[in-house]
């Protein structure tokens, strides 16, 4: 088993830079998810590990071996594709066997091949389908064949490029659990690319959030949720995402406040910003509560908002409101009576869970030193 190390790796396609100076260390046996919007360079990064794209600059290592110039088949990796990439003319058995026979130089004896195929088929519940063609299988079964083809070669690193995207919602949840179980069982390094933050949050040991070819933040799922390094991460992680609004810092009593166009928000910790500084204020939907303005004390803080829509999800409600030019979402307990669409409300933010960002660098103020006191749930 081996980890993967990107050391200032850059990938250029002509004039376009897909990945720039990426440094990232994936530990041995770790489940690392590369998360980002489409076109951010995450798949390019994965394809560089596979050797399907050349590294333009920097050094890429698998274990202790620099692999910049090592051909894909000698990298001891296996990859699962979004489209499964099964050979349609071959049976499931032949598909699973292909990495063991394709390279004549290190072809295994037939007996051992057969053993490995049976073992992989057993692990993934494919024993009854070994003689079928991929075209006769469902999407979920095909994906499992692709996984079997990957595990049969016992690689040092598994690479997965959005492997669940072609599955329906129910199957995706199920396969997600199976993948986590597979990782637990194999204890091999997984590098998994997705644009779906739910997949990232539920499966990863650590997440690397990527945008515009740059790593924005690397951390455990709860860490990137609780302590986003910048506005991009804050807005990308979380569903619904973090609400943000521009304002100016003021001081009052022990803490401080931020004056926005829609009202003043109390902030427990000013994270090093001073009165008069321009900031972007961020607050997650679960820390915004609507209040009836008619029962307000005059001068009480909060953001004046108008209810535009209410989404009922069963276990919670999302209150979509218009605050100045921004749309802000509050997460409500479904047991409480919600306001009606069109109502004027005041959104009150929990002062201890307000984030401040520098509008010019988009970095979170006080990153690494002072963090909001959001509940840190033990993650695993």
């Amino acid at each position: 088993m081996s980890g993967v190390t990107f050391d200032e790796v850059t990938k250029r396609f002509g004039d376009t830079t897909a990945v720039e100076n990426m440094s990232l260390e994936v530990a041995d046996g770790e489940f690392m998810v590369l998360l980002g919007p489409s076109g951010c360079g995450k798949s390019t990064a994965l394809r560089m590990i596979a050797g399907l794209e050349e590294v333009s600059d920097g050094m890429l290592s698998i274990g202790n071996r620099v692999v910049n110039n090592i051909p894909p088949r000698e990298r001891d990796i296996a990859m699962v594709f979004q489209s499964y990439a099964l050979y349609p003319h071959m049976s499931v058995r032949k598909n699973i066997e292909s990495p063991l026979v394709a390279n004549r130089a290190n072809r295994l004896p037939a007996g051992e091949r057969s053993e490995r195929i049976d073992e992989a088929a057993e692990v993934l519940g494919l024993t009854d389908y070994l003689d079928r063609k991929p075209g006769e299988l469902s999407g979920g079964q095909r994906q499992r064949v692709a996984l079997a083809r990957a595990i049969v070669r016992r690689p040092e690193v598994f690479l997965m490029d959005e492997p669940l995207s072609n599955l329906d919602a129910k199957l995706r949840t199920q396969t997600r659990l199976e993948l986590v179980e597979l990782h637990r069982r194999l204890r091999t390094t997984f590098v998994y690319v997705t644009h779906d933050q739910v997949e990232a949050m539920t499966m990863a040991d650590r997440i690397a959030i990527i945008n515009d070819g740059h790593v924005q933040q690397v951390g455990r799922p709860q860490e990137v949720y609780d302590r986003p390094a910048n506005l991009f991460v804050a807005r990308f992680i979380g569903s619904p995402p973090m609400n943000t609004i521009s304002g100016t810092v003021g001081t009052s009593g022990t803490g401080g406040n931020v004056a926005t166009e829609a009202g003043v928000v109390a902030v427990a910790e000013l994270s090093g910003s001073r009165a008069g500084d321009e900031v972007v204020l961020g607050v997650r939907p679960e820390y915004l509560k609507p209040r009836d303005p008619s029962k307000d004390d005059p001068g009480a803080g909060g953001l004046r908002a108008r209810v535009e829509n209410i989404e009922m999800l069963g276990h919670e409600r999302h209150l979509l409101t218009r605050v100045g030019n921004e749309v802000m979402v509050a997460r409500l307990d479904p047991a409480l009576p919600p306001p009606s669409i069109g109502d004027e409300v005041v959104l009150e933010a929990d002062a201890a869970n307000v984030y401040l960002f520098d509008p010019s660098t988009t970095e979170r103020l006080g990153s690494g030193t002072s963090t909001p006191t959001a509940t840190v749930v033990a993650d695993g």
Partner: protein
Amino acid sequence: MATESTVTAPPTAVERPRPPGSGLSIGLARAGWYISLTLLAVVVLFPIYMLVIRAISDPISFINAGQPLHIVSAQWDVFSRAWSDAGLARAMGVSAVATIVIMGAQFMTSVLGAYAFAFLEFPLKKLLFAIVIGTLLLPIEVTLVANIQTVRSLGWLNSVQGLTFPFLATALGIFLIRQGFLGLPRDLRDAATLDGFGHIGFLFKVAIPLAKPVIGSFLVISFLSAWNQYVWPRNATTEGAWQTVQIALRTLTTTRVDQINLAFAGAIIAALPLVLLLIFFQRQMVRGLTAGAVKG
């Protein structure tokens, strides 16, 4: 009463109401199609029908009878006479050998050329491909004299190599099979690379099996053009022993003018392999020719 209720019952979802007269117009449209297709079939099949009639009829009696649309004084032994008089057995043998060599060579060169143009990156790729495709515009007559000179200087007149050499590679094959290869998903090629397939492994284990319909249809085209060749073998052979089937037919036509039905019978015999091929592979041919037209 029952009839009434049936008539006045509201239309169900299954039996949607039709606009009045639509049944009739569909029937008319269908009849129109059948009539046009029948006429077209008559136009196409009439010469073949006449070929059979004239082959079997005694030629003098047929002309004296005013060239009717039916058999006159049937000569059923005409096929066996044509077979022996024209030496069709040997001529068909020569044609078969030349055709097999051409098909085999075209398969290899087209598949390799198509692979390079579809999957490899090399300098001047687009220009080279344009030049290859450009050769499609040159009819055989343009290069005939130069090619005959070459074959003559190599001492290859009256030989299998002489009959086949200019046709061992074809731009049509490269183009068609390249289209088939381009239809293969990129992920499949990437997966094959990661599995450890080299160029040859990927070509023969993955690309060719998946491009089978296109390759099959190309081989049918290759067979047809090789079997039907006339101009090249006419120039590349000088001895009767090296006559191909089309040359033998020509000889039969010019040497036995009084027995012209022998030539017709010979033509029917020479066409039999093609007819069999078309019967067995027509679906393949159509599928291959339309492959790549619509990306699936």
